[in-house]
Symmetry: C2
Subunit: 443 residues, 2 copies
């Protein structure tokens, strides 16, 4: 009967989504501020529930099943709840991604076409460990007018239940059923099959987890698998700049997807550049694995074939000496994950070739790969990073949770008028204008 | 070995796609004009190949396996080849969908982010019957810088082979392998599994054919399944206008997806409106199937439950009397296919409610549903109509075959500068500017 219940929840969300799409930004914003206040007011309940999850996790930590880092991510505190509430307020205050006319075109006198931003509908989110993920996804969904189906990890079961209850209690003015929670693994399988009811899936977790979701559904997936990013130090690089960028891109925060895994160095500058960067890396405890040519210049471990395809997510970097820009681009095309790559060069033509010929979501010139991030890009609240090419690519803001509808305002216009022998021609004039419900802009 | 060959073809297309993305609009345009000339120059070859297909089809027509309409769609002529060549020229002359900066944002002094339109990569097209589909999809792909994998129906085998040969011969200056042809049904299965290499699928054919593709791949699909469209005649409709719109939406071209299947009529105007429209429909040989309330006003066949969900694609219409706008919207939500719906009313508030509350790609006020079309919308060459909500929705122009990349131009910028205690703030200023390869806009 679990499946039937999940189906019922998704159908309820579908109905709610239609009503939710009609709320004004002020209504959605107010609801989110109420959620933030409720989270703070009910901190004790959250912490009590979280304690039950943490206790269970500590036992599994003792058994060696969980790591300390895992249990830390799971653990909430008063200040952590405050920062979650602040995150909700910041989502509330984002620019409205809806109620925007993206294009307006006069097809003919009195016949006006408007392309209007609207919510996608029902978004399913499946995520692991951190309980703040539930709140963040619910907040992003509500701000963008989408109904959400939330499935957290079993390790955060009690925390998630309490957070979900607080969110639904605080959004009593929002169409009932806009947020739904599912808990069992079988429910996820049901969700993955409901391609007629769920419009988008947002998995969050390890690459293998995201890949599993992608491989087991025909629902579109907004997610991020691997980040095997590169810095290429060109023959014409400012080597001091290259050193700083290579260092920042690896060391500033090695655990994230936009940190580099591989450094590609042109042979003309390898002798000068490699010893300098290796000194700095070693001072920061970075392990370096080099190809044969690299090891002629610096004394580092030998890289294996597997190194070029590996996302370390740690203080490890592989290095390869290349004979040309073309070889560097081929290496990236063969081994990269189309995430983020940077060239360091003073030569504009080579920068252009690098940026044009790579099929990565973000391609940089003389900047650290670590800038590939929704906040740094100025996109506002980050929905996620997409390694797909369709719909949303790279860092994704709230816009990624919207689609559009065409609104056509006419005055009895018929296609027959524009067809056949005496066909009237279309005007097709773009104009600046917002859709005025039920009225022509000219009136 | 077939599978291996298909895989090799797709991989060749992947490599070609990277080079194709770097051609200028002028290069792509010139190549397309060459294709158009070659099609006209080699008309005899095309007609000879087509004759073989048509002969085989005539036999199956005699056996009752094919319809006359099917064989007619398959048959080419001198004037048909000319019109295909003209279509290619019109695609060639479209505005370039690439080389556009969609957004430019200064993250900080000397650190400029550009969101740049780029091709999607490798597009797989699987289509039935008409040989002109092969040429059209190849032309749209080339104009938008995408490599294409083409799979036509077996009934057009010889026509498609010749057309493909002419296209590849005429595009010798375009990166080799940009267009690939596959022929066997097993090759399609291979294609559907290559989600790491194929970026988008464009199936063309019946709803069941498109649904089959959607259900058997995790590659994103740009396609169109059903078109169950509605006209709702409100209590405050101008009834003369409503009659014209209901007539145009059904009769002007009944075989297409944006023609209506169901007419919803408010009970307050049913007595006046229904007899009038039924007269006009009957004069045009439209078969009308009504619910019980409809049949109180007009003498028509009884509609069954199945009628409300059926895309007739023919001169048949179902009619239902409703007691309110809400009932009309509920009917459309329950039975519609989220394609195109129109309300006829003089009441702006009710038009707004209708347009906001329906989750259809196109929602119209006082206009015929037949306007839902890329050409009429002024989108230029029509890539297709999408019934999905992600990436592209409704009528899709060349823009639907593009995605974007982020280009970041820096001057040695590091994330460390913007993190930690003395973090420098971002500026995040939007500005009007085109990406200048390898250079900052300020220089």
């Amino acid at each position: 009967m679990t499946n039937t219940e999940t189906e019922r929840k998704v159908e309820t969300a579908q109905t709610a989504a239609l009503q939710l799409a009609q709320l004004s930004d002020e209504q959605r914003r107010t609801a989110l501020l109420d959620v933030a206040d409720a989270l703070e007011a009910r901190t004790d309940e959250i912490l009590a529930a979280n304690e039950r999850d943490v206790e269970a996790a500590e036992e599994l930590l003792a058994d060696g099943e969980y790591t300390r880092a895992f249990v830390d991510r799971l653990t909430l505190s008063v200040s952590k709840v405050e920062s979650i509430a602040e995150m909700v307020r910041s989502v509330a205050d984002q620019d409205d991604p809806l109620e925007k006319t993206l294009e307006a075109r006069r097809l003919d006198e009195g016949l006006e076409l408007y392309k209007v931003a609207v919510p996608i509908g029902v978004v399913g989110a499946v995520f692991e460990s951190r309980p703040d993920a539930l709140v963040q996804i619910a907040a992003l969904g509500l701000k963008s007018g989408n109904a959400v189906i939330l499935k957290g990890g079993s390790e955060a079961l009690h925390s998630n239940r309490t957070l979900f209850e607080i969110i639904t209690d605080a959004t009593a003015d929002v169409p009932d059923g806009w947020a739904q929670q599912i808990e069992a693994r079988e429910d996820v399988d049901t969700l993955l099959e409901m391609d007629n009811a769920v419009d988008l899936l947002m998995p969050r977790g390890s690459s293998s987890f995201v890949s599993y979701i992608q491989d087991n559904t025909s629902i579109p997936v907004l997610g991020h698998t691997e980040g095997v990013c590169h810095v290429y130090v060109d023959a014409d690089a400012n080597l001091e700049m290259a050193e700083d960028i290579a260092y920042d891109a690896k060391v500033q925060y090695p655990a994230v997807c936009n940190a580099i895994e591989t450094l590609l160095v042109h042979e003309d500058v390898a002798e000068t550049f490699l010893p300098a960067i290796v000194d700095r890396y070693e001072a920061a405890d970075v392990e370096i694995r080099g190809d044969e040519a690299t090891r002629e210049f610096v004394d580092v471990e030998a890289a294996t074939d597997a190194d070029w395809d590996t996302e370390y997510g740690d203080l490890i970097v592989s290095a390869r000496v290349v004979d040309s820009l073309g070889t560097a681009c081929n290496h990236i095309t063969t081994h990269g994950s189309k995430h983020t790559e940077s060239i360091v060069t003073e030569d504009a033509d080579r920068a252009e070739t690098f940026m044009r010929s790579l099929d990565s979501a973000s391609v940089f010139h003389n900047a650290s790969t670590r800038f590939a991030d929704g906040y740094r890009y100025g996109l506002g609240a980050e929905v996620g990073i997409s390694t797909g090419k369709i719909h949303a690519r790279g860092p994704v803001g709230l816009e990624g949770l919207t689609t559009y509808k065409y609104h056509l305002e006419g005055d009895g216009h018929l296609v027959a008028t524009y067809a056949g022998e005496d066909a009237k021609p279309y005007r097709h004039e773009e104009f600046d204008g917002e859709w005025m419900p039920g009225r022509l802009a000219g009136e």
